[in-house]
């Protein structure tokens, strides 16, 4: 008899639980989409943006090479074999006023800076890190408003007759030295980004991308990029000038300069 008296409260609680679960938005779960629901929660999202033209400018860039590379922040900038505890211990043992750059090795310095940034922007969780994959696009080529193409005497043209008396045209072109025209962070398109989202505000995102963008590129890679960009430029100029009627296109020797 006593048990029977409990049936009604149990049944009522279960019905109430079902009603809350399926017919209200209190739990935030949408187990059966399409069911009518009583709304206890209210969510308002807003987004506005206004775009204004701030600058227009002429460009004179001939891009002949694009180099796309990806980094995983912060992992790619945390050299193996380093730890923040060890770095901190070393810094504590130094006299006051000593420069961090003089105390730490290049790897330790990179680790410390990356660790500090990751912590500042909230990516560090007890020694573990959230991560973001950043794609950089570097373009290399020539600024045609600069030397040698900017000069009025950039090309030297001449004519000569060969042994059969055929007239030939010849042009001497200064060696076009390629340079890095731009390094940009490829904009992330949410639908095409297959990695986990991470909590960062606008300013934190600026700091992360600037940090990654300004990391020096390996000298060997940079040399390969510039050399390939120059080769592409020479092939293009050679074809262009030959189709403009020059039989001989002579590029001057490359000047050896320190980059």
């Amino acid at each position: 008899m006593k048990r029977r008296r409990l049936y009604f409260p149990i049944f009522s609680i279960l019905v109430l639980a079902c009603a809350i679960l399926f017919f209200t938005d209190i739990t935030g779960l949408d187990l059966i989409p399409g069911l009518p629901r009583l709304r206890f929660q209210q969510t308002t999202t807003f987004s506005t943006s206004s775009v204004t033209l701030s600058e227009v400018r002429a460009l004179y860039e001939l891009s002949t090479l694009e180099y796309v590379y990806r980094f995983v922040f912060p992992h790619d900038f945390l050299p193996e074999g380093q730890s923040i505890q060890e770095i901190t211990r070393r810094l504590r043992g130094q006299p006051e006023g000593a420069e961090v750059e003089e105390i730490l090795s290049a790897d330790e310095l990179l680790y410390l800076r990356t660790y500090n940034l990751a912590t500042d922007v909230g990516l560090e969780h007890g020694g573990d890190f959230d991560f973001v994959v950043i794609t950089l696009v570097m373009t290399a080529g020539f600024d045609v408003s600069e030397e040698p193409f900017g000069s009025d005497e950039a090309f030297v043209t001449s004519e000569y007759r060969d042994d059969q008396g055929v007239l030939h045209r010849r042009i001497e072109v200064p060696y076009p030295e390629a340079k890095i025209l731009s390094t940009t962070v490829e904009d992330i398109v949410p639908d095409d980004y297959p990695y986990p989202d991470l909590p960062v505000g606008a300013d934190s995102w600026r700091r992360i991308t600037e940090y990654v963008r300004t990391q020096p590129l390996d000298d060997e890679v940079l040399t390969r990029i510039l050399r390939t960009a120059e080769e592409n430029g020479i092939v293009f100029l050679d074809q262009l000038l030959r189709s403009a009627g020059f039989d001989d296109v002579i590029f001057s020797e490359k000047q050896t300069t320190d980059r």
Partner: protein
């Protein structure tokens, strides 16, 4: 043991609720796709693009979310920031660019040039200026930020085109090529424009 209809109904109801709730919880806790974080890709690509004009826009973005439960605010997230978006135009020299000499005149050359096009629209992360950020009850996420920028980029691109970016880019491209050919000795440079395939089909 025979149970009363009320108990049986309660048991069935509890079982159904349990199964559905467990399904919902399991779906919510499904493990995310494994991501190989050490894979770093590099790619070299040859191109021939003459970038000749750029419009830079300042975009001021304000977005956020507010949630209330029984009238009490539980989440209040918002961010206001500004960012530069650049729209670059020029010509792709791989698409039909060609020179033809005039046999009757040593000083004249014909240039067939592709139409100017938008070569890139890029949000410059380095130019971000965050005016304020409010993160009560939740944080702003990267995909929300980048999603906002992605939406505005097409609008910015269209505005640049409407303001004559392509005409300016084509004019400057002609000036660059004319000067280049003048350096090679051609004083009379005549241009014609290549109409792209998609325009013919469209």
């Amino acid at each position: 043991m025979r149970r009363s209809p009320v108990v049986r109904a309660a048991l069935i109801l509890a079982t159904v609720c349990g199964v559905l709730a467990a399904g919902g919880v399991l779906a919510g806790c499904a493990p995310q796709r494994h991501v190989d974080v050490v894979r770093v890709e590099q790619q070299l690509r040859s191109l021939l693009e003459l970038h000749t004009y750029e419009h830079i826009y300042r975009d001021v973005v304000y977005f956020g979310e507010e949630r209330r439960f029984l009238g009490i605010r539980t989440v209040d997230r918002a961010v206001l920031f500004a960012i530069d978006i650049s729209v670059r135009a020029g010509i792709n020299l791989d698409e039909g660019f060609a020179l033809t000499r005039d046999r009757s005149s040593r000083d004249r050359i014909y240039v067939r040039m592709p139409e100017a096009e938008v070569l890139g629209v890029d949000a410059d992360e380095g130019s971000i200026h965050e005016y304020f950020i409010r993160e009560q009850g939740g944080r702003i996420n990267l995909m929300e930020l980048t999603g906002q920028l992605d939406e505005v980029k097409e609008r910015t691109r269209q505005d640049a085109v409407d303001r004559g970016l392509l005409g300016q880019a084509e004019e400057n491209a002609r000036a660059i090529i004319r000067r280049f050919l003048q350096l090679a000795g051609y004083t009379d440079v005549v241009f014609s424009t290549v109409v792209r395939d998609e325009e013919i089909q469209g």
